[in-house]
């Protein structure tokens, strides 16, 4: 028992560095780098299944911001060639500076009814979230040249690490901290392209495939 326990502790000690190294190496080989501003060329060069690392400025937004923007609200910042991240970060203020404590994605499908309008109206180039989005967004992405990036759900600590600093915050008073529009300056933020500017969607494909596979099993 004792031995088993210490053994486990020992394994724990080295897993992090090894994982980090593997991660770093595979990241360097496999990944496409995206930098703000996200130009049409950059966006159109991505296809479903690509792994990307985002650097530069991205804006968080949840339900209230999406509703506001889709209903014709004026964005306080220029979203053209910009990115919206579906995220309600945990941010605290320490010694006069904002620090991000956790910044994982939230479920994107809740914004499905607003997203096409926001892409059209504001010229958005990148959406980041989890779980994918529906038909309306897929079509809007194809029409206006926008991509959906899937971040790893629940990876709040890893993703918070990629935030270098906070550039500013909007709608703090009216929407509250979790729903506010935070400007995050990120470096090498990892994500996977699951909906591209050619109108392809990994989510649609997996849903159809899994449907078929499960139906076969349930026959």
């Amino acid at each position: 028992m004792e031995f088993g326990f210490w053994n486990l502790e020992f394994i724990r000690l080295w897993t992090l560095p090894v994982l980090k190294l593997c991660h770093y190496l595979s990241d360097q080989i496999m990944t496409k780098h995206l930098k703000y501003p996200f130009t049409r060329d950059q966006v159109r060069s991505l296809s479903v299944g690509d792994r990307v690392m985002l650097s530069g400025r991205i804006f968080t937004g949840r339900d209230r911001l999406h509703r506001f923007l889709a209903e014709g609200g004026q964005s306080p910042v220029d979203l053209k060639a910009g990115a919206i991240y579906h995220c309600g970060p945990v941010v605290i203020r320490q010694r006069g500076r904002w620090t991000v404590r956790a910044a994982g994605p939230t479920t994107s499908i809740r914004e499905e009814s607003y997203m096409p309008e926001i892409i059209r109206r504001h010229g958005l180039a990148v959406i980041i979230g989890k779980g994918g989005m529906g038909e309306g967004t897929r079509a809007a992405c194809a029409k206006h040249g926008c991509v959906y990036l899937h971040a790893v759900g629940g990876a709040a600590q890893v993703l918070a690490d990629k935030v270098e600093r906070i550039g500013g915050v909007h709608f703090m008073k009216s929407f509250g901290s979790a729903e506010a529009m935070w400007e995050l300056i990120v470096k090498d933020f990892p994500a996977l392209v699951t909906m591209d500017a050619l109108g392809r969607s990994l989510h649609e494909r997996i849903a159809a495939e899994s449907d078929r596979n499960l139906r076969k099993l349930m026959k």
Binding site: T15, R51, T107, Q157
Partner: protein
């Protein structure tokens, strides 16, 4: 009753929110090896494991959604449960202040945040008297993304061709897996309750999540069903985060309960990979005897 109880429960909350139990970490490490190198599934699992390590090192929440809190307490006969509930509530309030828990509770009537995560019915505290001299407190934190994927079926279900038998149960559960796709932050664990009424069935399903990943149902029929559903779900191709792969579920836990002749419910409780579950056994003096899981 305050100090020592509150202190130990606070530590229970801190551990639960920042440190995934061994069985779950081990399961994640195991399935990681099954996914092919440089696949999206492998990438997602690597990121998840890195996140697990980081959270443990920092003592910070694994996921920003610290979820609904369910305290499952077994106390000796004659024990003062009111004082225990009081201590739990104080500990939750303090944990929120210290950032172990996110401000995560909304008053449904006013739409305002409940201070310190204390509201009507929150946190949920289940109490049960047992013979003995120990107070066992188990805590589960369940995030909203995964809870939204939980579902209940009433058999027979003609759309799924599910009758009132094991095959019917299997069909319902696989339908739940199909609907969830990656939205519950797969790979997840399913707690399943068969029987009961709508309320007790749902509770039975959630209670299955208290079991270790490595155990099997005591009933051989249920144990077989658990294995069968797990294997089938992992053949679906949904994969971690729903981006494709060999691992859709880490485990399936089924419990059964008696029912009325007229009804047959199958309740599915979906738990995400951030399966935060811890427990502590305390003496009646409030001192820690041992940690569970």
């Amino acid at each position: 009753m305050k100090s020592i109880w509150q202190r130990n429960i606070l530590e229970l909350i801190r551990r639960t929110s920042s440190d995934l139990p061994h069985d779950v970490t081990a399961a994640l490490e195991k399935v990681r090896r099954k996914e092919s190198a440089s696949s999206p599934a492998r990438w997602a699992l690597d990121t998840i494991l890195e996140n697990v390590c980081l959270a443990r090192e920092r003592g910070a929440p694994l996921c920003q959604d610290t979820g609904t809190l369910l305290f499952d307490c077994r106390v000796p006969v004659g024990f003062d449960t009111l004082a225990l509930s009081g201590a739990i509530r104080c500990a939750v309030r303090q944990a929120t202040r210290l950032g172990y828990l996110r401000q995560n509770t909304i008053d449904t009537l006013t739409d305002k945040a409940c201070a310190g995560n204390i509201g009507l019915g929150t946190p949920a505290i289940h109490l049960e008297y047992v013979r003995g001299s120990r107070v066992d407190i188990r805590l589960i934190m369940k995030g909203g993304g995964s809870e939204n994927m939980s579902i209940q079926y009433s058999l027979p279900d003609s759309r799924l061709k599910a009758g009132r038998d094991w095959d019917g149960v299997c069909r319902c559960v696989l339908d739940a897996v199909r609907r969830a796709q990656g939205n519950g932050c797969a790979p997840g664990v399913l707690g399943i309750g068969v029987g009961g009424d709508r309320a007790t069935g749902a509770e039975l399903a959630k209670r299955q999540l208290l079991r270790r990943l490595s155990d099997h149902a005591a009933d051989p029929g249920l144990a077989r069903l658990e294995k069968q559903i797990l294997a089938a779900a992992n053949k679906s191709g949904i994969g971690p985060m729903g981006c494709g792969g060999r691992t859709t579920l880490l485990g399936v836990k089924i419990g059964a309960m008696s029912r009325l002749p007229a009804s047959y419910f199958v309740s599915v409780s979906y738990m995400c990979w951030a399966f935060r579950r811890r427990g502590v056994a305390l003496g009646t003096d409030g001192c820690i005897r041992r940690w569970m899981y």
